[in-house]
């Protein structure tokens, strides 16, 4: 969302700059009794003085603007993924969230019997909420949780912070290239 906001702001800035420049150019064209450079003044005048507020095209435009506005509002008001996580090591110390998630996923992945793991860490109050999803037998859940908790303690997270581990059973692997003979 941060990147989208930044790119959209550049786009908005360029649109404002271009639109403003166009208005100035057209104003000069009208003042000097010249035909417009981009805008055909006659046809725009005709269109704007004959199109009514209740015309379906106008209504579609208005509804599109409203829906776009609502979508933008929702995008800005929902909780964003934090970029960094506060750590208890010292005041002003933070860890980059994505690197913590990758590191913890590697930790969970290194538990024998775990085939793949992904980790999501979010800020909750002053602490962290960790959710681990790992592929492996359900009995490995405790081992994965212990390994992740050990790393979290090393990274300066509160030991009481919640850690959820979801173990997903391994999918049967198709034996490609092997044909069973009867």
């Amino acid at each position: 969302m941060r990147l989208i906001n930044r790119l959209a702001a550049i786009l908005l800035a360029l649109t404002l700059l271009g639109g403003g420049a166009l208005v100035i150019i057209e104003v000069f064209a009208v003042a000097l009794h010249r035909p417009g450079l981009v805008v055909d003044h006659e046809s725009w005048y005709r269109a704007l003085t004959t199109t009514r507020l209740r015309d379906p095209w106008v209504r579609t435009g208005i509804v599109t603007a409203g829906v776009t506005g609502l979508l933008i509002l929702v995008g800005q008001t929902v909780r964003w993924k934090p970029e960094r996580l506060p750590t208890r090591l010292a005041d002003g110390w933070h860890l980059q969230r994505r690197s913590v998630e990758r590191h913890l996923a590697g930790t969970a992945d290194s538990v024998p019997g775990v085939a793949f793991a992904s980790v999501m860490v979010r800020r909750e109050g002053g602490g962290w909420r960790t959710r681990v999803r790992a592929v492996g037998e359900a009995s490995l859940g405790t081992a994965v949780e212990n390994a992740v908790r050990r790393e979290l303690a090393r990274l300066g997270a509160d030991p009481d912070d919640p850690v959820h581990v979801d173990m997903v059973g391994p999918r049967p692997v198709p034996l490609a290239g092997i044909r069973l003979r009867r």
Binding site: R6, L17, T49, A65, G92
Partner: protein, 200 residues
Amino acid sequence: MTNSSLRVLWTIVGLVLTTIGVVGLVASLGHLAGVDEDAPLIWSGLLRLWRAIEPWGLAILGALGLLLAWLGAHLLGRQLRPRRHPAMGDLDLRTVTGPAAGAAGLPPGTTRVRGACLVRGLERDLARDPQVRRASVVLAGTAADPELWIELQLGSRAALTTVRDHVSAAVGRFRATSGLVPGRLEVIARIDTSGPARVR
């Protein structure tokens, strides 16, 4: 521009567009008092006003165009500015050592220290610990109230408490060398997970 200021900007844009949508739809359906849904987009009242104030209408429109273009250029400039925290420039040592040094009667002339040199020195000092793979520092604020923003790239086996002590020691040395006492110290550490791949 910071992320939060962009968030405020887009919340305002969203609110404006939503208001246009709601009010426009109500007017278009003929439920808004004083607005005729059968009237054209440029209604007769607006045309009368335009003709009555001629040629000032054009001047107002031109001023509006100028305002829009200025807003666009300003926003673009703020987006393309490279740093969130403007780096501190060169330091005049008299401002660092404070009024006591001035009272002692300094000889004429000034001594300036490049802010970039101090920053590079701190970066090198931070990177001396093998657990720190890379360090980048921004020295912001003023000489009276400096701020230090440190970004560290750490190895995956780095012991964070040791790194913290190393950073405090390095900042202490920076303080002793430059005479600057950082009012704010922010450290963002990234754990580098790139390493030998696990063999399955």
